[in-house]
């Protein structure tokens, strides 16, 4: 059942949700919009289509402690970090980023379950936000994401004057039940909503990347793609930074490190990037010594290795952040197109 709320009432909605749980939503701070905890002072920004960082760090933080070791009376003691216990709501997750969470679920919720991630997933309610004005870097449809009908525990649509709200899951319904400011919709609302969705999908048809297809990319393509000479040409501008991996909603490689606090050792994990030269470095050497190999690994993982292990699901969601943020103008679209062009030759 779809419900509605006038756009002016949004601050009241935020306050009402914040009564129930911690509310995270896109907030503009120092010129950039990222997900942050809401309070009455925050500058909520729903106009920016994509947050600079994906919301993955609400479930898989860039840095999180795992446990602490200390020596008590000569005995080594390991104290595990407590799991998330507070409920939270993430408002405004786009369809692509939501798919990103599905990808992360495949990694972290598969056996053996990562309990830190699982606890956050359990306590988090995701309110997905339908796109109205997709942008030039978007290519979510290539991966089967419908940005006009993104799913999530709750889906919201925002038109010029109205917010439409629909609970999709028991978790979403539970949240909805605790909010009393949502109103009923009528037929006119339904029609308006349908028209909005149609309009958004029509824009998708006209995007520069509307005709991006994944022919030839799948779990069986390892040999042909791996050995291609194209990589040697594609990787050249790569600076070996981690901008693409950290912006990406699906990249999940991490590092585990120790920090000596002076009265114990804190072990934490933090995001890592397969683009870094020391990513696979170990005592007896490095099995990926060139940036070409590392560059190849990233895209092979997203488009070949991951689908091979996950029933054909790609580890890219078409959010286009790499398109916008790579300092050298590299991105997954270029890789896909280069192979497409090669195949046509």
């Amino acid at each position: 059942m779809t419900q509605r709320l006038s756009r002016e009432e949004l601050p009241r909605l935020y306050a009402a949700i914040a009564q129930v749980a911690d509310l995270f939503l896109p907030v503009k701070r120092a010129g950039k919009t990222n997900f942050a905890l809401w309070n009455t002072q925050t500058e909520v920004d729903l106009d920016t289509l994509k947050t600079a960082k994906s919301p993955k760090d609400l479930f898989f933080p860039q840095c999180e402690p795992l446990y602490t070791c200390d020596w008590r009376e000569g005995n080594l003691t390991v104290t595990a970090q407590a799991l998330a216990e507070r409920d939270f709501v993430v408002f405004g997750v786009r369809g692509c980023d939501l798919r990103g969470l599905d990808v992360l679920d495949r990694v972290f919720l598969s056996d053996p379950v990562d309990s830190f991630y699982a606890a956050r997933r359990e306590h988090g309610t995701v309110i997905a936000f339908a796109c109205r004005e997709p942008e030039e870097s978007c290519f979510c449809r290539t991966f089967g994401v419908d940005c006009a009908e993104p799913g999530g525990d709750v889906t919201v649509w925002l038109t010029d004057g109205t917010l439409y709200w629909r609970a999709n899951t028991p978790k979403g319904q539970a949240l909805t039940d605790r909010l009393d400011l949502l109103g009923k919709t009528d037929d006119a609302d339904e029609q308006r909503l349908a028209a909005e969705q149609t309009a958004a999908r029509e824009i998708i048809d006209r995007l520069p990347y509307a005709n991006l297809f994944l022919d030839g990319w799948n779990g069986d393509a390892t040999e042909a793609r791996f050995a291609s000479p194209l990589w040697e040409k594609l990787y050249r501008p790569c600076l070996a930074c981690g901008a693409c991996t950290f912006a990406c909603p699906t990249c999940q490689c991490y590092d585990i490190r120790d920090y000596d606090t002076g009265n114990g050792v804190q072990r934490f994990r933090c995001w890592d990037s397969c683009m870094y030269s020391d990513f696979t470095m170990m005592a007896h050497g490095n099995n990926r010594t060139s940036q070409m190999q590392r560059f190849r690994q990233r895209f092979m993982h997203k488009l070949v290795y991951f689908p091979a292990n996950n029933d054909g699901m790609y580890s890219c969601v078409g959010c286009g952040r790499c398109v916008e943020q790579c300092p050298s103008g590299l991105n997954i679209v270029k890789v896909i197109k280069a192979f497409e062009k090669e195949a046509k030759k």
């Binding site: 070791c69 080594l76 991490y254 470095m281 099995n287 990926r288 690994q297 092979m300 993982h301 091979a308």
Partner: protein, 281 residues
């Protein structure tokens, strides 16, 4: 298995282990026995599996479990000194505590494919570590397997890991043949001299055996070639891979080659499986 969260403990959270015995095997290899603080083994494992050992504040690394699963009271790790962590481990003494998590990875198929087969172990240097676990297991379940040949080589006599056990126990066991070799001749050594692959060729084993191969990458490469020449098929040869690992459970991404994660889907691979992987190990 390791995926069980019933204890409420995440797989990344280690247990405390106490070092109960340290034996100097060679100038740069020591074997460490590790127990739970209250005594007894920290966990059950299968031959070929690994565990993450960590000196808090120093580093953490994946090591093969050298002891056989049939040993009841401890796990043993033979560790070669070659980096920051192993340096530190070598400086520890009996009674020191470290953290351990595991066991991780798959294991040699001792209960399935290897059963009833004649086994040929080919090891070089510290490569004996994972194989010793299998040798121990096979010795304790002798009736389930055919003949056992152990070909083991190292740089010199003093670099032979577990020399006492090899000469004292293994070579005296029924149906077990031990062949030792060292790279260069030296005083007090009347055994074979030469590299492992060459000795393998010289010995010329029949190709109906199943080979388990472990050692430095270069030795593995040439031994594998020799085995192929001798008529072995890749399906008869098992080996182990080693890559940088952090999580041990196939999530952190660094040991990923092709669609496999060496920490979870390996370290034991049949050679035909390795052929299917991209050439990046």
């Amino acid at each position: 298995m390791s995926g069980c969260n019933c204890s409420g403990r995440d797989v990344l959270i280690p247990q405390v282990g106490v070092i109960t015995d340290i034996r100097t095997e060679t100038p740069d290899v020591k074997s460490f026995r590790v127990c739970a603080p209250g005594g007894g083994k920290l966990f059950e494992h299968m031959p070929g599996q690994c565990a993450m050992l960590c000196v808090p504040g120093v580093s953490e690394g994946m090591f093969s479990i050298t002891s056989s699963p049939t040993v009841q009271d401890y796990q043993e790790f033979s560790i070669k000194r070659c980096g920051m962590l192993t340096d530190h481990l070598h400086s520890l003494s009996v009674g020191d505590q470290i953290t351990v998590r595991g066991p991780y990875g798959n294991h040699f198929p001792v209960e399935s494919e290897l059963r009833g087969k004649d086994l040929l172990f080919v090891a070089g240097g510290i490569g004996l570590a994972p194989l010793r676990s299998v040798i121990g297991y096979v010795s304790d379940h002798r009736a389930d397997y055919g003949t056992v040949d152990i070909l083991y080589g190292s740089r010199s006599k003093e670099d032979l890991v577990k020399y006492d056990e090899i000469t004292g126990v293994w070579s005296k066991a029924d149906g077990v043949n031990v062949h030792l070799t060292i790279d260069r001749a030296e005083d007090g050594w009347d055994g074979h001299v030469g590299f492992v692959p060459a000795y393998l060729k010289e010995l010329g084993f029949s190709s109906d055996k199943t080979a388990l191969l472990c050692g430095p990458p270069i030795m593995i490469r040439f031994s594998l070639e020799t085995l192929m020449e001798m008529g072995f098929s890749k399906k008869q040869v098992y080996t182990t891979l080693e890559l940088r690992m952090k999580c041990g459970v196939g999530k952190c991404g660094r040991c990923n080659i092709g669609s496999k994660y060496v920490c979870k889907d390996g370290p034991v691979f049949r050679c035909d499986e390795i052929d299917a992987l991209p050439d990046e190990y």
